[in-house]
Amino acid sequence: MGIKDLSPKELAQRVLSGDRRAAARVITLVEDQSDNANEMMKELFPHTGRSMIIGLTGSGGSGKSTLIDHLISRFRAMGKTVGVVAVDPSSPFSGGALLGDRIRFQSHSMDDGVYIRSMGSRGYLGGLARATADVVRVMEAMGNEVIIIETLGAGQDEIDIIHVAQTCLLVLTPGMGDDIQAMKAGIMEIADLIVLNKADLDGANLCLRGLEAAVHYGLGEGPGWIPKVMPTVACASKSIDVQGVDDLVKGIMEHQEFLYETRKIDEVRANRIEQELGLVFKDEVEKVVFAGLKGTGKKQGYIESIRAGDNDPYSVVEEVLATFLKVENLE
């Protein structure tokens, strides 16, 4: 009997026993938003929520994947199992994607303690894919103690990562702009650790100082975590020339300790659940409404009436939702 013939419950059971083929299949079903996905997630969810979740974001080419390769090694040396979700952009035209993060994780290709999954963003904005939150849950359920999420090469506002990850790393490189860039809102604000990778390039020292100043000016009121600026050299022809990775791991562990000591971890976890709840609600409500409209010709009617100038999208949605909420008796 092949893995494709298993029931949702059997598949979920296999995931819980650490079966990577089953986990891989469940992740596909979640990505494809298949009908069985929710059933499986229900089985897995109680076995999640305990892993350490680290997120890396930053522009394409800044070295996120190469840094993750080193992070995997360090966590493996601590005896921890590691899951990695690496998101790359899907084409808005063809829907296809070139998922090229795995090529940087070669040194772990034969390690059974490492599970790596590449994902196309499939049109979802915010730096992650729609299914990323669920995929992280699946990786937790299969027993990974550390989970590393790599966003697609994000720009200035792709900050969804803070809703899933506990410790967020922003990866920058020298030459990406002056201190004014570093003072802008958005992605700069979500970093718990700011990594200046390729710190052996010209201008790195000036850049480092600019980032430290920006962090200092941007501090909020009261005591809290002060983001650390950490220089690294992740890619080197000789491993002895790799710099700053041990300090980076130390920084991650310090931030984790901070979260647990201040009980901020509860806030982070609640925030994650709130986000997931919102996503599931949105999907399910949309599904119910569109399923209800299907075959009635009403959707086309609404579109026509809006096009003709007799109606507008806001009134249509209000009207449709009012009908559905009445039918379902949801007050």
Binding site: S94, G96, I103, R117, S118
Partner: protein, 135 residues
């Protein structure tokens, strides 16, 4: 099953460093709407199959350009069988003598595309076969 996207693991195996063809094919498949996990050079049958498991791939694609096709094809087929990936499509592209093609197919490869193949040949083949192969 393939309600979603076709996922392809694309790589080169052994010490052959001619990766231009694999990169061109990766771009073509991407533009054809597939999700392509590019593993790059210096892979082994084991690393390719393990990546295919983790990624729940529909297709394994390998580029051969240095006469290694008769060595690695049976090794990859063997590893796929050992790991229970009989339902995954295995295709190769590259440069090899036409008289080797029946041998490669007898070894268990699903299809081969030699230099000069049109992109629509392999795109259409993968589209029609991916996810349909019987275990």
């Amino acid at each position: 099953m393939s309600a979603g996207k076709i996922k392809v693991i694309l790589s080169k195996v052994g010490l052959d460093g001619h990766d231009r063809g694999a990169k061109v094919v990766a771009s073509v498949l991407r533009s054809a709407g597939m999700e392509v996990v590019y593993l790059g050079m210096f892979q082994t049958p084991e690393s390719i199959v393990k990546a295919a498991i983790d990624e729940d791939a529909d297709v394994i694609g390998v580029s051969y350009l240095s006469g290694e096709h008769l060595v690695f094809t049976p090794l990859i087929v063997q590893e796929m069988k050992a790991q229970g990936l009989e339902d995954v499509l295995f295709v190769a592209g590259g440069s090899f003598p036409p008289e080797d093609i029946p041998t490669m197919k007898a070894m268990g490869i699903d299809e081969v595309f030699r230099g000069g193949s049109l992109s629509e040949d392999f795109v259409n083949y993968i589209r029609s076969r991916a996810g349909e192969k019987e275990a």
